[in-house]
């Protein structure tokens, strides 16, 4: 099941050990990333152009992935959609998990008022209905991609916070934490170097899931008027706008769903199968 990369075999002490699933999922992610980067150069048609007078057209020589509900080229729309789905989701998930996890660990380590205050504040934040929140954001700061990213991130911070705090609280009771504390270590070190390595796997799992949620929520927020503007559309929005094609099994709705699934499954499998660093611990 495990594969040693050529590099690892020659330089036995260094490098990373990959496993097959890890490689496969990285490949899928890389392929999509590449598609996202190259999209503007390789799309056969502009995303807004109508080239098919029919709608929900099938796969054909000219339309490799069929046409959408307006008769636009799906291939182009999906390739361009990759840019937004990957870019925005990645940015949002990084921000939300980073902030949530840092705050969660800080709360666990500090305890007391900081913990209570942060916890209640974030409880309150996540109690505010998301539609109200979204509308408020549009009304207050208008709509742009950065605003979209921050909004998505803010929506998911409380979850990341709760989970990491729960994990960190258990670690915080261990003796090695006491050792580090009486060394005089600051909170930053405690959370970054002592706690994080012990909870990183569940945290990454959480991140993987949050990524899925964000990919899906993205389209919901676009419909609230936040962020992406037509004719651009992320994959979730592609599914949504073409959902009418479902009874006909139109590629316009199937393909973006598959795209989402392939990306999110790969991200999660990669997280489960991250390459391991090879340490030299021979006697």
């Amino acid at each position: 099941m495990t594969v040693h990369t050529a590099q690892a075999q020659t330089k036995a002490h260094f490098g990373y050990r990959f496993n097959l699933v890890g490689i496969a999922s990285s490949a899928v992610i890389l392929a999509w990333a590449l598609a996202a980067i190259l999209a503007p150069k390789i799309i056969p048609h502009p995303v807004g152009e109508i080239i098919d007078l029919e709608y929900f057209g099938p796969i054909s020589d000219t339309l490799w992935l069929g046409s959408d509900y307006l008769g636009r080229d799906m291939l182009s729309r999906i390739l361009m959609g990759a840019r937004y789905t990957i870019g925005i989701s990645l940015a949002a998930v990084s921000i939300s998990c980073f902030t949530g996890v840092v705050l969660g660990m800080t709360a666990a380590v500090s305890g007391g008022w900081l913990d209570a205050g942060l916890s209640r504040f974030l409880d309150a934040l996540s109690s505010i209905p998301s539609k109200l929140f979204g509308l408020l954001v549009v009304a207050a700061v208008g709509s742009s991609v950065p605003v979209l990213i921050v909004t998505l991130a803010v929506i998911y911070i409380p979850g990341a916070y709760r989970f990491s705090r729960a994990l960190a609280i258990n670690i915080n009771t261990m003796d090695f934490m006491t050792v580090a504390r009486i060394r005089g270590e600051g909170t930053l070190y405690l959370i970054g170097s002592e706690i994080l390595p012990n909870i990183i796997r569940p945290i990454l799992t959480d991140l993987g899931l949050r990524f899925v949620f964000i990919v899906l929520l993205l389209s919901g927020l676009s419909f609230l008027g936040l962020g992406l503007q037509p004719p651009q559309a992320d994959w979730g929005a592609l599914v949504r706008e073409n959902i009418g094609g479902l009874p006909f099994g139109a590629p316009a709705v199937i393909v973006p769903s598959l795209a989402i699934a392939s990306l999110t499954i790969s991200v999660n499998l990669l997280i489960d199968n991250l390459p391991k660093k090879i340490r030299d611990r021979s006697v």
């Binding site: 699933v21 209570a116 209640r120 409880d123 309150a124 996540s126 109690s127 505010i128 209905p129 998301s130 539609k131 109200l132 929140f133 509308l135 408020l136 009304a139 207050a140 979850g159 709760r162 989970f163 705090r165 729960a166 994990l167 609280i169 258990n170 009771t173 012990n198 909870i199 796997r201 569940p202 799992t205 959480d206 993987g208 899931l209 899925v212 949620f213 990919v215 899906l216 389209s219 979730g236 599914v239 949504r240 959902i243 479902l246 009874p247 709705v253 769903s257 989402i260 699934a261 990306l263 999110t264 499954i265 999660n268 499998l269 489960d272």
Partner: protein
């Protein structure tokens, strides 16, 4: 230690009150910040300045916002949830049935989703790296990566339109027998279960795997404990904190976040009510819904926190 928990619950209740107050305040002002007021939104295309002005006066919307908030709050404390701006019905009457419906749906989903997800999460942790584990992961992510509205639509197409086994709509009030219940709830519940279980399964798996690597689980092995015992008696109790939080977060979604399921199955719950209320800036309704969501959320997270504390004697 029970005193500690009691203490915690009491202090949490107190803090919850304050949180509720803050949330109601935040929601009130958020609503006020939104452009467009109730009167002009209700009038829609017909909103001439005079007409809107008249309606505003009729609904006492011309009072200063703070005053209205205080009025609302005082009434609320007295148990009077106010009257809906949009249709002048008492908020309680509007929410009553729908709240029950939401709780029914949430309850049934939780009863189904939580045990299944915990089982799947734990078993895939135990068999980590195995084919089973991989299949669960792939299926799970595969399922949740399909947008909820698509899952629901597929289900309707398949079970209602083609097979005609189940109704496409789920009017909660129409359930008179157990068979009705089954018919009405199966699709919404399954759709929701898909969404809700993912987080529980994945987080349970991750948290349990973390504790499976510890020396005390190794020791249990050396005592001859079965895999099941190792996991259930030794690994799981030490992972309860994070798991409880994952469960709480997932379930809190069921209280206010099931708008898509409510829309597609035309299930009358409070998520849709809230969205409507926001659209019409129907403050009393928004406030009351927000209080319900907030209370639900706080209850769930407090329960999770208590579980976490009880499960770790060092922080008791």
């Amino acid at each position: 230690m029970n005193i500690r928990v009691l203490d915690l619950i009491l202090s949490r209740l107190f803090v919850a009150m304050i949180t509720l107050l803050i949330v109601s305040f935040a929601v009130f002002f958020a609503t006020n910040l939104l452009p467009g007021d109730t009167a002009s939104i209700l009038l829609g295309q017909a909103a001439t300045p005079e007409a809107a002005e008249g309606l505003r006066r009729a609904m006492h919307l011309d009072e200063p916002a703070v005053l209205r908030f205080i009025h609302w709050l005082l009434d609320f404390l007295r148990g009077d949830f106010g009257t809906s701006y949009a249709n002048s019905m008492p908020v309680v009457a509007l929410i009553g049935d729908r709240f029950v419906n939401t709780m029914k749906l949430a309850g049934i989903t939780a009863l189904l989703a939580v045990p299944i997800s915990l089982t799947l999460g734990i078993t895939s942790a135990v068999l980590r790296g195995s084919l089973y584990d991989r299949v669960v992961t792939v299926l799970l992510i595969g399922i949740i990566s399909v947008p909820e509205f698509m899952v629901a639509t597929c289900a309707v197409l398949f079970f209602a339109v083609y097979l005609k086994w189940l109704p496409a709509l789920s009017f909660a009030n129409d359930a008179h027998s157990f068979a009705d219940m089954l018919k009405i709830y199966s699709m919404p519940v399954i759709t929701l279960t898909f969404g809700v279980s993912a987080q529980i399964i994945r987080m349970t798996r991750a948290a349990v795997i973390e504790t499976l690597d510890t020396t005390y689980v190794e020791m249990a092995l050396l005592k001859g404990a079965s895999r099941g015992r190792m996991v259930l008696k030794h690994a799981l109790p030490n992972a309860l904190g994070p798991i409880a939080n994952a469960v709480a977060l997932s379930l809190s979604y069921l209280i206010g976040g099931v708008i898509i399921v409510e829309t597609i199955f035309n299930y009358p719950g409070i998520a849709k009510l809230m969205v409507d209320a926001v659209s019409t800036r129907d403050l009393p309704l928004i406030q009351t819904c927000a209080m319900i969501f907030c209370l639900g959320y706080l209850l769930l997270t407090t329960a999770a926190d208590i579980v976490a504390i009880l499960s770790n004697p060092r922080i008791r």
